[in-house]
Subunit: 128 residues, 2 copies
């Protein structure tokens, strides 16, 4: 078969290899809620309930799991403030900022191409 | 709450809105197998079995479903050749090519930052 050329230049990493640590990163990005949370945080810090309202349709449990995974990967920072009542704020870390630029590019691509994508779906669904 | 500023400039689309058609695009990208199939096809046309070998760990059923969804969205082209035995080839369409550039940027980001991500995970897991 032709080479897939997906490995890193030094050959150490390949996202297509199930055991490669970078594959876990792609698993994280390849998760709709992770993407949507990063979109919501792109423009600034949000509290948990603000995030929950921003990411239409996310459950409390799923949002908690997603934030925890993003925090574990160092992409999102969680800060607890000892106010009354105490509150928790989430923001994108400098590490996550590098990723979110690429993720925003995908959103812009979706906005620019949604008409073509919907036309493709209609053609596909109309096939005999 | 502060604005999330995720809407398209003309205000027609917002990936964070559950009913927005662009949200479906993000649901497609936010799927690890879609990403991995696009990575595998980035360097050229592949047959089904070549794809299955390239995308380590994908099942025949999941690969079939993923390719069908990518074809429906107009991102991947499926061509049947009347050889003996007949075979089927998959390639990225011009529409999908625009997306795959951004997806490749994410892979490059993952290769460049995997050490920081793994360090963040270790710090997270070591917390009391």
């Amino acid at each position: 078969m032709p080479p897939t050329q997906t490995a890193s230049p030094d050959g150490r990493y390949d996202v297509l290899a199930a055991a490669c640590p970078t594959r876990q990163v792609i698993n994280r990005i390849g998760d709709r809620w992770s993407l949507l949370v990063l979109y919501a945080l792109e423009s600034g810090t949000l509290r948990f309930q603000e995030l929950r309202r921003a990411v239409d349709g996310v459950s409390q449990k799923m949002l908690t799991q997603t934030l925890r995974a993003l925090e574990r990967d160092g992409l999102v920072r969680r800060e607890i403030f000892a106010s009354v009542p105490p509150h928790v704020e989430y923001s994108i870390t400098p590490l996550g900022r590098g990723l979110s630029g690429h993720i925003v590019a995908i959103r812009e691509w979706a906005y620019a191409n949604i008409t073509d994508i919907e036309a493709a779906r209609e053609r596909f669904d109309a096939r005999p």
